[in-house]
């Protein structure tokens, strides 16, 4: 009796999983494996099938200045966006969680960018950055008398301009997770600290911040993945330019595959991206693991 129940459970379980697994394998796991395989082959063209190249694509990648450029850009982009948007998200969550005059408006203001498509966000900001009569130039001219500047057209500022847009878009999203975590912290802890005479600053660093660590781990893993995954705004704002100054790894993969149609090399670049993502995820996990206080 017990045995047949088990057997039937097996079959039911497998049948229930089957449809999801088919699609999961077809569009995630198998493509990931074929990406790896294709990264060792040349791009098939017309009548000419793909040839086995061994490590040629990888050698090309290591010698490709654009690859290193976009890799650095991506690291800068991650460093520029992640700590800043997490810090802002914590501040936002603390404020919104507090009894604040006009809390509803402030919370709405922080969260609204999250529901906008990144493409729409880019359009709005493109207008801000327009040399001459965009809002930034009008403000800097009015306040400091600065001349018109082309933030998106200058290799020195293009990536930073994109970082600003990304922080604006993401901070409110991360705030939500902190807000949820803050509401789960028992008030008694804070009250006990207050009785001991601890100030707000001490309470934050000694109690709130450590208790938010699991959230910070979760948010930062998300943020890292996002910093490699979200490239929509680049299409509108700079198209990767000038001279790849604001291009990111996934954008370069897109260009290689769908503008130059070099799918073999694009597969190699994708492998690099996947390896990088896995290393970062594992690294973060271990880095935070020692500091995270689980309940």
């Amino acid at each position: 009796m017990k045995a047949t129940r088990f057997k039937r459970d097996w079959i039911h379980g497998w049948l229930l999983l089957l449809p999801a697994m088919v699609f999961l394998f077809a569009f995630t796991h198998i493509p990931a494996v074929t990406t790896l395989i294709n990264s060792f082959y040349s791009t098939p063209r017309g009548q000419r099938p793909a040839r086995f190249l061994g490590l040629d694509n990888y050698e090309r990648m290591l010698a490709d200045p654009v690859f290193w450029k976009v890799l650095w850009n991506n690291l800068w982009f991650a460093l520029g966006t992640i700590p800043l948007s997490i810090a802002l998200a914590i501040a936002m969550a603390l404020w919104v969680n507090d009894k604040l005059a006009g809390r509803g408006f402030v919370r709405m203001a922080y969260f609204t960018p999250t529901v906008l498509p990144l493409i729409a966000v880019a359009n709005i900001w493109l207008f801000f950055y327009t040399p001459g009569f965009g809002l930034f130039d009008q403000l800097t001219r009015g306040l400091f008398g600065w001349p018109a500047s082309n933030y998106l057209g200058d290799p020195d500022t293009a990536l930073n301009a994109i970082i600003v847009v990304t922080v604006w878009k993401e901070a409110g999203f991360f705030m939500i997770f902190y807000l949820a975590a803050l509401q789960a912290i028992p008030v008694s802890l804070k009250e006990a600290a207050q009785i001991e005479g601890a100030g707000r600053w001490t309470i934050f660093w000694r109690i709130t911040f450590p208790l938010l660590m699991p959230t910070t781990l979760f948010v930062s893993i998300n943020a890292v993945i996002n910093s490699f995954r979200l490239v929509d705004h680049i299409f509108i704002l700079t198209d990767g330019g000038p001279d790849n100054a604001s291009s990111l790894l996934l954008f370069y993969i897109y260009e290689t595959a769908f503008r130059y149609w070099e799918t073999g090399y694009a597969a190699t670049l994708t492998v690099a991206l996947l390896v990088l993502l896995s290393l970062l995820a594992i690294g973060q996990f271990f880095l935070f693991d020692r500091k995270v206080h689980y309940k």
């Binding site: 697994m21 569009f27 501040a91 408006f105 709405m108 960018p113 493409i119 359009n123 939500i176 509108i236």
Partner: protein, 273 residues
Amino acid sequence: MTRISDAFDRSLNTVAAWALGVLWVLPLAYAIWTAFHPAAYEARFDLFAPITFENFVKAWEAAPFARYFLNTFILVTLILACQFFLCTLAAYAFARFEFPGRNVLFALVLLQLLVMPDILIVENYKTMRFLDLVDTIPAIALPYIASGFGIFLLRQTFMTIPKELDEAARVEGASFLGVLWRVYIPLAKPTYLAYGLVSVSHHWNNFLWPLIVTNSVETRPVTVGLSVFSSIDSGIEWSVINAATLMTSGPLLIAFLLFQRQFVQSFMRAGIK
């Protein structure tokens, strides 16, 4: 003494929170301002500038936005329906059945949180060409319908449902699918709502994959339509582009303003578990 410094501290915080809030709505407010005023005012702030809807009319007529909206609507509905179906079945299996390979398969599901279809654009495009689905709406949807995130979220919810309810329904003669339908799904309604909102807003906003896999008016979602519209930058006024931008984000934005609380709670619920 402490009371005064506390009050000072509090007001300082309020000011900072508001300053950041104003800074945060500024871009959107500015876009709304230019969209509702004639082009002559787009770089000149004047409180008494005449309000006009002309920019929206122009944008609507300049590109087939009606069709783009229909495409997006079909797309998000298709994705959501398939996700609910596939993820529910898989989550039920992981939550309540014992079978060999369960842990390995669950790890493979979680792997999708890291290795996302968004990144595997090259191979997925090849697959779509092989299936002869390039430039169709199902091609945009297919890579996303088996969502690792959705399976995980629903599994966590199903596991919190007391086994006694499950057993009681079985005693009454319900089959394993009947139990799913009558016990698990009704009790997981808040999770479905949360996941639905997250999924709809995510796929409404998605851009890169639809850009790659579509190339005609009949299949393009609004995000791709908007980028096509605004990249023909010769002669289109900013105010019209801003009107189009607001139009594409409009439905989601209005829904968000109306259901703000539910939205925020949904994102929270989707995040914590």
